[in-house]
Symmetry: C2
Subunit: 321 residues, 2 copies
């Protein structure tokens, strides 16, 4: 009840916000997004979509926050491995742990996906889900990006925060659909994006209910259960949200299937890809990047009617002040 009163007090503020995508330049991208939102949310529109079906999904890495020079969750895993290494003396001579402890990103990369998964499962398991959330939140509150020196949660995109607010003010329910770990993203989704934990879909590791001790808990196990990337994203969405979104936002070929499935549905649909074109304010990368590779999306996106946002041209600011 109180939450509702609070929401109602906020209404005039939200109504203003809906008009304001203030860090979006007046561009074809901005117009396409606004036209879509108005078409599906105005009751007198021929393309009107009932609120329950007004679902928008957002990739996280490279779409809501930055992802260079490596996924931020990998930095978390490396810091956790370092913190845990005192209890694992063998790690100091064994890859990929040796590289992680020495903070040698290139050597970590040389161990390939297999090595990275080993680091992630070792550092993300063996505790309760609540303990993991606390570890992730504690790390996010003080760890800093190696190049910008900012907190990682300050490496979010200001225009995308405005877009999230605009969609919510237009009656959308907004979900994150990330290749990253669901519980890692949940550690900051509420305070940073205003997205409730239960509206985060992500990769998961196996879990087990343990009631053998005095206090029952859900334990995180060292095995990947589901990879929410590429063809996994539509499956993760169907499993979690239970309906096809009408709008999808991504930045890499890992989001291709999510956009293809979303925009193939009946009625008006929106697919948006961020193109990282701003080497000065952020990073410029696409076809040849080791992370967030965008190639098929550039080749086929326009023909599929997707909006390709040019981050350098379309955005006034990239990060919050």
């Amino acid at each position: 009840m109180r939450a509702l009163v609070f929401l109602c007090l906020l209404m005039p503020a939200l109504a203003v916000q809906a008009q304001e995508l203030s860090n979006w330049r007046d561009s074809a991208s901005r117009s396409a997004i606004v036209e879509f939102v108005e078409a599906v949310s105005r009751e007198d529109s021929p393309d009107f979509v009932p609120a329950a079906e007004r679902i928008a999904v957002f990739d996280n890495d490279g779409t809501l926050w930055a992802e260079q020079p490596a996924y931020f969750q990998l930095f978390f895993a490396l810091d956790r491995v370092r913190a845990m290494s005192a209890e694992h003396p063998d790690w100091r001579t064994r890859q990929p742990f040796k590289a992680a402890i020495e903070g040698d990103l290139e050597a970590v990369a040389a161990t390939g996906l297999e090595g990275v998964l080993q680091l992630v499962t070792a550092s993300h398991s063996g505790m309760s889900s609540e303990q993991f959330s606390e570890q992730a939140a504690a790390w996010l509150s003080q760890a800093r990006h190696p190049q910008s020196g900012r907190l990682y949660t300050q490496m979010v995109y200001q225009p995308m925060l405005e877009l999230l607010g605009y969609l919510r003010a237009s009656g959308f329910t907004v979900f994150i659909v990330s290749g990253g770990g669901a519980e890692f993203v949940r550690a900051f989704s509420e305070p940073v994006y205003g997205i409730p934990r239960n509206q985060v879909v992500g990769s998961t590791i196996e879990m087990k209910y343990d009631d053998s001790a005095e206090q029952p808990f859900v334990e995180r196990l060292p095995a990947i259960a589901f990879v929410n990337d590429k063809a996994g994203k539509p499956v993760g969405i169907q499993r979690h949200i239970g309906r096809r979104p009408i709008a999808a936002f991504g930045n890499s070929d890992g989001d291709f299937e999510m956009l293809a499935w979303t925009t193939a549905g009946a009625g008006r649909r929106l697919g948006v890809l961020l193109h990282h074109t701003d080497a000065e304010r952020e990073w410029a990368y696409d076809r040849d990047s080791h992370i967030g590779k965008l190639s098929r999306g550039l080749d086929e996106g326009a023909a599929r009617g997707w909006v390709i946002v040019d981050m350098k041209k379309d955005w006034k600011a990239v990060f919050p002040e």
Copy 2:
């Protein structure tokens, strides 16, 4: 925006509804529920819980709607098998399909869990997620309970509908956490309970994204992916909701772990079990029932501080008029 305006117009109505659990008799059960809700939702209360953490979870079969003489989803599976049997002539002589086609519930039961799972996977797979939703919704709109002759969606418990409304009006986010199939429950959760599809956690079958045809779709595969029952419920909740609920409602030992985990958390907690005691208006069953068995909950519930609702004594009406 419009949804918010609509909510705000509804506010006086909701405020009244919060006072009204009109089909709950003035009982110890009702008092315990109301005291808990007020303690966690009043900002001046020492037990106040912020809205984001005010999560309540409800089992479905036997807690929100009836489950006798068999889970309603099984009746759906049997009707689907019958409808599909023309394309599967071999089913007419092969168990468990023969029993299903003949509508012989006892013979189906004799094939055990293995047989039932065969019927469910065969009838719930081989189509897109959207086609399945349509089939389930179409069935629910006309199939009738074998004893009451009512639509299955009229076999919901009126006092529980009131409780859902009361919790929502008190700022709770309400989830269904069912041993039944998530997509089956989603086919009626919004219109019947006012619970959005994405707030349904349930058992799942494997799914696969298929973009080999002209229109991409998510295909349902004939294999069980996750059984959201017993020790699976806390795992399903953590995976989907991402935090431990503060209130849990169930009716059988399949809900025991969900209630134990929920009520073991810090701060004020609520665990509620419905005891089916009303052979006249509904059914009376507990320790020896083939469905919805309630035994450990009766033995340990009171000592754990759980509320045991006596449906015969505590409820004025069972089903909606």
